[in-house]
């Protein structure tokens, strides 16, 4: 029983990171229909900025995350302006290839500046605590708490503010949103900012239990796509629930079915979902 609770907790930790990361991806997809493969690179840059702010500038962990969020958010906006905006009238395929170009570039850039080696991120929350008969570290509790808080904040922002409403409106009906006077440019930039910020948070809070290195984005990007497909491309609750579904399927699947075949299980699950519900679990019914 203890193992079961422990695995639930493990799934919750991993799922929180997945959800945060996938949220940004799904937001961008919902509004601009861009499958942003460079999202993993944003995640990676986020980890590096936080790390460098801590080790080189000597900032506190939380402050470093804050700076990283701003920087990566702006980087995402820059990406939108320089690359995706000129491509707004081309099919999404072109965006995909351009995103791969961005990814290659950012990885090479980070490797050029800070080298290819693995780095570990120190954290003030490294204590091990016993909790309901399971073992956790404070960092892991932080991950879950931070993810939930951020997702709540994002929810409030999207539901309760005008700007947030514009994002939702644009993702539901682009033309309608234009007609009702929403500034599409501003909304796109804002969405990219949020998506970059979310990627930076996800990597910054998970880096202390992982490692920071130029290729770290590869580990999450494919999974994030799985998540937003499960959840329905562009669906915000879908991304959150999809993230936790994948987190739990990894922890419980590895525990009770087979660790070696857990990836295969996940993908076959995905194929089955798509066969039965070709547009994902949470996609809106569109005529």
């Amino acid at each position: 029983m203890d193992t079961f609770i422990q695995q639930i907790f493990n799934g919750l930790t991993v799922g929180s990171v997945y959800s945060l990361f996938a949220l940004g991806l799904t937001l961008v997809y919902g509004i601009l229909h861009i499958p942003n493969f460079a999202h993993g690179a944003l995640y990676m840059v986020g980890g590096y900025i936080t790390l460098m702010m801590m080790t080189h500038a000597g900032l506190h962990y939380v402050l470093a995350i804050f700076i990283s969020v701003i920087v990566v958010g702006l980087l995402a906006v820059l990406m939108e302006r320089v690359v995706f905006y000129p491509l707004r009238n081309t099919p999404p395929l072109q965006d995909k290839i351009a995103a791969i170009g961005i990814m290659l570039f950012l990885e090479a850039l980070i490797q050029f500046i800070w080298g290819a080696e693995y780095r570990s991120m120190p954290t003030p929350f490294g204590r091990v605590v016993e909790f309901l008969g399971i073992t956790v570290t404070t960092q892991r509790i932080l991950i879950i708490a931070a993810a939930v808080i951020i997702m709540l904040l994002l929810y409030l922002f999207l539901k309760k503010t005008m700007t947030g409403a514009a994002i939702i409106a644009m993702s539901q009906n682009r033309e309608g949103a234009f007609l009702s006077g929403i500034n599409a440019n501003k909304t796109a930039m804002l969405t990219f900012f949020i998506s970059g910020a979310l990627a930076a948070v996800a990597s910054s809070i998970s880096a202390p239990i992982n490692l920071v290195f130029p290729g770290m984005g590869h580990l999450v990007i494919l999974k994030a796509f799985v998540i937003i497909i499960i959840g329905g491309m562009g669906s915000i609750p879908g991304a959150i629930i999809g993230g936790y579904i994948l987190g739990f399927s990894e922890s419980l699947g590895a525990a009770f079915i087979s660790n070696d075949y857990k990836d295969l299980i996940a993908f076959i699950l995905l194929i089955m979902i798509l066969t039965l519900r070709p547009k994902g679990l949470f996609a809106r019914e569109v005529q």
Binding site: L93, Q94, I100, G101, A108, F267
Partner: protein
Amino acid sequence: MSVLFDSRFLSSALLIFSVLFPFLTDNQYFLHVLSLAFIWAIAVYGLNLIGGYTGQLSLAHAGFFGVGAYSAGLLMVKGGMNFWPALAAAVLITTVLGFFVGLIALRTKEHFFAIYTLCVGYIIYLIIYKWEGLTEGVRGLIGIPSPAPIGPITFDTPQSQYYLLLFFLVFVIFIMKRIVHSLIGRTYMAIRNSEELAETIGINAMKHKMISFVLSTSFAGLAGALYASFVRFIGPDIAYVNIIFDMLTYLIVGGIGTLSGPLIGTIFIVSVSQSLQFLEELRMLIFGPLLIALIIFYPRGIAGGIQSLLHKRKKTLQIRKGLRQSAAVEEGK
């Protein structure tokens, strides 16, 4: 000037050049790179048929490439088969698998099809990766023989392998050309354009998508089988998603939905990335932005860019001609 742009002239010149190429250089490296580019180009033509012409972007083609490579490799290494029957069998296996995948996958549309096939490709990769008893898993399959001789023609030198691959590439391009410029190709393009419209003018879209998909997987399988006997070592990585992204890059840069696009794109990207080698770990620093610039300035690819350029020229010529004629008419009045 205009004769330079004539496609018949251009393609025969290209063909003659590629036939003579081994005589122009004894640098095996060029030969090797070009041979590999031919293999990729064959696979990219497959991708172009279903994605470019029929409008159903399949991301499972790296998987099918892997299936072709592993079928051929395993039949030769573990089944002791000769290259030629193994090649035929590999193409057949890939095609049959493609048929069954298509049967389910083609029910989804647009980007859901792309994602669905991405997952199929990933599952193929995982199966190759995990099924050690058959595929040797991560270790990979070694000792794949090079193509067996046909009568007096042998394929153990790089030159002869180059010609073999060139032959298959020309063969594939020929088939593509015949298809694209026929009623069949127009049918595919009609489906790409609007499946609804195609259906209402009497085209059984599902059937044609199916044929196009199956044929395109057989190209991927062919390329995979050729790869296996050319590189003579295969690992699960050849079915990984990175490979499909490479293929996509070749296709998009060259020009999706054009006949020359896959060839142009493949050779262009391969040679650019080879010539950036001197930058070592920094090469992606140049390659990434270059790729982005290409996509932004030539969203329809190099071939598409040339096409619209030619069209514009033709149009201005026509307008000028038209003006002159009307001027003449005016004068005659």
